[in-house]
Symmetry: D2
């Protein structure tokens, strides 16, 4: 029996206050869709199938190299992070899994952690290794690289840490390991560019060898930061070549903020899907670099176009199922509110993509009717599916308006009392 | 009495076929808005106030430096261009003015041209000069610049051409001159950067001096192309400084595709409005450079954010009224269809911006409630105002679905017969 | 016996006027290098091994979509283009091959063309197909794509044209085919992104099958232009996946201007070399997009870093030999002058890369001495090897200062008389 | 009498070991320059006039939001920072001033600090305020802005802090205040864009009013980070408008890493110089964002082009003298080594710019000879002026090779013993 962190009565009270309006809007939208030949109930059912993982580090306040301005009641350990994640899932019904980051979230008792998650109705998504920071007492520094370090001892330490993450993940019920390394160089010449990738591949083979048969290894590329001249896995081409080198269980992970300016990200999605290497996503939004802003807050049409590709790929292969995760830095908002809103935004794009009339679209494309092809997508994107998303939540036991229900619950104020600020919280792995 | 190029009966027949569905959708949306405290009729009335100018060159098929693939029935002179513009306005009721480009559109008889426009229900927006191409028989080349040329004779020729444009514009009833120059350099060192701007300002003063009191001079900046190392008016800062130097009748014109990657364009809009120098817009969309794609086709949220700033500026100053124009290159679509769709997309952003609850937004901003501030904009943007736009057209005598009505009319097929292709059409000024 | 287009006496006279100064500078540099333990004679010999192909279209004046400002004495056919190329090679001794573009350069008598080239001391590099323009009388249009077109007939026509190019190339002595397609879309939705690449691969297989055993097929990617929303081969990742799909004779071609902003191009070079797919280069420079500026004119250090990777790759594999070509658009300079200067700039980067002390560099890298690693490259880059390049030319029978010798020869004035301007020259394939 | 932190004997010993080679290289270069009509002695004298300020925070190891990997012997307070700066100046003779950052460097006894600086041969450049971080015990948070905050109390606190900085600067002998604020928004809607700038200007007027007559206020713009949707002073246009609004003592400061991708920075330099608002520079280099890499390490030609504009501006106005400062983050190098190398790189660009034959360049520009104009700059840039820079140092009492002399001195090892690491050093203001 799942523990509800927010009192169910409060949620029901909130929903009761919204229900009539929601139903009226839902019916109005249903009528409009019906006149377009679309069954709203099918869409609502589809919406209920959506799920996106939460990043454990996302429930803390993020920061920049300049400053971090802590919020109230930030979780101080993995147990409290899970509680916050449970709130998000309780109200959105769209985030049943949590992605942990080690050693930040390393539990003293992994089985107890799994039990806590289970009691909260949560389970564990891919685990993340961390070889971009030095931990107190660590034998080898990663200042000059981890999987690519010149120092064999540093490389071995980094490989061993990844294998530890796999072991921990097995206990927790995870089925994947996400490997992101910040390894790179700040100066032309600092790295032998090819040598660095050779060392990466050699190290990655060591990790891959430890991967259980039913696990996937997600390789995450990023153009820049923390390295500012070059990064060893800087683009999807390198990620793809690395995944090919490693084997079938190695897949590419696409973070929406890790690309060069002007990059057509939905085309990368299509390419990786076509060549069988699309593993999953870190969703967020950005205007400049790896800004880690809330999903859909800057370019919602791009998010829709990504899901349009995913819908196309699913149509071609019913077994296609990449991993979805939010990966955001919440610097000026309550992280729980941002994660709830963002889960809904991603779900929105998922439902809008389902609205595309694919037969008509294919016909327009076949006829070189660029204008109507474009309109076929825009028509779906323009549809305000908010009532569908709200109804899907309501039917699944969530909140009609998660942010409003959350604010009404007083949760933040309560944990602010229970969780006094930690000194030096930046050391807790919240970036 | 306005001549209707598309048979009115055909338009009415089209509308008749759409009316019931439209009314039902309009009512459904009206109900949803009413539950949010918004009066749909006020919005529809607002929509009817919207107007955006058509670029005469936009009704021909565009091209790139690599190729131009002509369409059928392209207009061969300014008279035929006006006919196409009249079709667009007839069906959308949102494009009552046309912006001409000289010498491309130089009429043999300006008064007759004005009469033609008048008979079609059109009038003339700002006129555009062209000193980025050499015309047959021209005394001085613009190969090395026009308003900034080292050659005094070339500069004088360019100034004189602009003054000719003003004279022509007076006869046509225009009230503005848009000055875009491609002047710049392809090599570091080719220009003395400051010397080039000094010559520009000196030339521009000559043009400004010829401007009637009730005219505006629009200075259009552009980051690059046709010059590839530097452009004399490359950014809004230079445009702004130039407009300041010239005087009150000089304003800055913002083309959405003329900025560096990642630029926050809506902030430029806010800055120019604040400092009293926002003259107007060339609307289009782009993903990479000055792609001149259909407005709202790539980043519709950005277009909305631009109109959000315009709404804010209007709230602060009721007399604020920048000039709106479409400026697009239609390479793979029927230009009439693209211009109709684009006018509607810009109008959509205008109406969505009107939907923003500004009092609530200001309250969220005051309270540093970043999440709800963002949602206040997203809520307006997400609203599918299509029924409002269609109803506004219907009530103004346009078409419920302009593209469908246009296709049903057979206009393109008819002009394809009447207008056989010209050889070397790239010389006709369609870029 | 090679025909010298510029009178040898004139070149000798030029060289005589420069020799004393050059020898003094060469000796001074030789002393400086000797104090660094470097033998100038070895570098001069190395410089003499350098060769880069000329693009036949590069000897005409280029233009933009806005205008083309023709130069004097532009070549009017492939015969005249070869003459201009011969001048460039005569004076630089660095450009012994020419890359033709069909149908622009399609010869009436291929054997005669080969003889002309031979008599001028030139031979033919890779041939280029053109499916981004429609030719008069062509059955199928490429308006909506060529190798990726929805129309099977258009695809077949494009494949057949490429096979024709191969046949022509065989007669001319070429050993490679460069395939660049502008295929893409201007609107989200216009293409099914995956379907377009599937059609591309299917078409490319048809071309690949016609490739002689000793030929290579060069796949050239480009981020954007002429398509402005997406391009089928937009990045090195797609190019790489396509080359893998086709087979060993398919390689990737890197044009320095075809990447997203901020891309680390030298890393792409390293990646393609590592995975065995680096076929060659189109050299030019750019600040914004595919600006096609003179090589090394905007970011000479980047050009050096590219050659630094090539030197590293050659060290690892002595047989590594990618194809080098210039690909530039000369809008404001005499194309012959720009191509001569650019060949020298690329050769400069080649020689500077040879100056890197690779053993010392490897030591600094091994020691994580980022500062000295960087300085090891900068030291080589900073060395002004101009006297080496001039001496290499002098010893090979070229000109000490190619541009000065060319200007002194009066070549341009002579051909300006012999080659009156063609009307509508933009139709001659010069972009 | 200036205290020499590195033993003078050690420096002399180092110089003695280099002198013969340097003299030979200097003579060889002198001969080459003489054959070009250039007097090497004039250049060496010019080089000796160069000075660039050091940022106090630059002598500590920098970091990213992901991690900071401390170096050995990092300075723990402003006194130790001054010692490190003195080493840099002793060996390079190019960095006589230090720019302090408050409250990071707030001295207990400002007069004593000034005496320490004086004894080390240093003085103080512009002081920097910090309103982008919260300090322990601070009354108002800057989480939602400082000079632009909605909270009047926060704005007043930020203004008061800036005025404190001025007061402190007066005691220290500074003549300028640099104001950089990270204020901005992470979401569209979070800010009223115009309202935020209005508040900024209002706050800035309060600071400006406290500025002594012989001081300048430097306004520093930045595209993004720490705010990721918009920044209040995001571009030079806004900086320029703000400086105009404030008055003659307000000038614009250009940081090379604070621009949109592809921006032509040297043109911004020319524009600000032309309109009388160029105040100074923060030198560094970058490939992606505000990477804060070593000056000249990524794009040395751009640095040269900036100095080419400065040379042009100086030619036009002999009194033109913007402030130069290094502003870099040293994450993988010894900060002292990076700052020494970077000072030399900036000085190199200064000397190379002095080598441009401006009369010849003007002639080429006048004649529209783009190729030779470009070559006139490239010729100066290509000249390896290293012997001039070394000789200038030697004559001024510095080190022929500052990095080699520094390493030989054992300074870092000595301070590593004297300065054990502080816990939580990221709190010391090193970013």
């Amino acid at each position: 029996m799942t523990t509800q962190i927010i009192d169910s009565g409060q949620v029901e009270q909130h929903n009761a206050s919204q229900r009539a309006t929601l139903q009226a809007d839902y019916d109005a939208l249903g009528g409009m869709l019906s006149r377009r030949g679309v069954d709203i109930e099918a869409l609502t059912a589809k919406a209920q199938t959506f799920a996106v993982a939460l990043p454990s580090w996302g429930v803390g306040t993020g920061g920049t190299r300049f400053a971090r301005f802590p919020g109230k009641g930030e979780p101080r350990d993995v147990t409290e992070k899970l509680e916050d994640c449970a709130v998000i899932h309780q109200l959105t019904r769209a985030t049943p899994t949590v992605s942990l980051h080690f050693p930040w979230d390393k539990p003293a008792d992994p089985k107890a952690l799994r039990q806590q998650a289970d009691s909260l109705g949560l389970s564990f998504d891919a685990v993340n290794s961390n070889t971009f920071q030095d931990q107190p007492g660590q034998a080898q520094t990663y200042k000059y690289g981890s999987l690519t370090a010149q120092s064999q001892a540093a490389r071995e330490q980094a490989v061993a840490h990844n294998i530890d993450c796999i072991e921990l993940g097995k206990t927790l019920g995870s089925k994947g390991l996400t490997v992101w390394v910040g390894d790179g160089a700040n100066f032309p010449g600092q790295h032998n560019l090819r040598g660095a990738l050779e060392r990466y591949l050699d190290s990655a083979k060591g990790i891959y060898a430890a991967l259980p048969d039913d696990w996937l290894m997600y390789i995450e590329h990023k153009l820049f930061e923390p390295a500012f001249y070059c990064t060893v896995i800087a683009d999807w081409g390198t990620s793809f070549a690395a995944a090919q080198t490693l084997g079938d269980k190695a897949k590419c992970l696409v973070d929406l903020g890790h690309h060069a300016p002007n990059t057509n990200i939905e085309m990368i999605v299509a390419r990786l899907a076509q060549f069988g290497k699309l593993g999953g996503f870190h969703f967020n939004d950005s205007k400049y670099g790896d800004d880690d802003l809330d999903s859909g807050s800057i370019d919602p049409f791009q998010l829709f176009l990504v899901f349009n590709e995913l819908a196309d790929a699913t149509l071609r292969d019913g077994t296609f199922k990449p991993a979805y995760m939010l990966d955001q830095s919440h610097n000026v908002t309550d992280p729980i509110e941002s994660l709830m809103s963002s889960a809904v935004e991603v779900q929105r794009a998922f439902v809008q993509a389902a609205l595309v009339d694919r037969a008509a679209l294919a016909g327009f494309q076949e006829a070189n009717d660029a204008l109507q092809s474009a309109q076929a997508l825009k028509k779906a994107f323009r549809t305000d599916v908010s009532p569908i998303l709200a109804m899907a939540r309501l039917r699944a036991g969530g909140a009609a308006d998660p942010v409003a229900a959350y604010r009404a619950s007083g949760y933040r104020e309560k944990v602010a009392v229970k969780r006094p600020p930690k000194a030096g919280a930046s050391g807790s792995g919240i970036v």
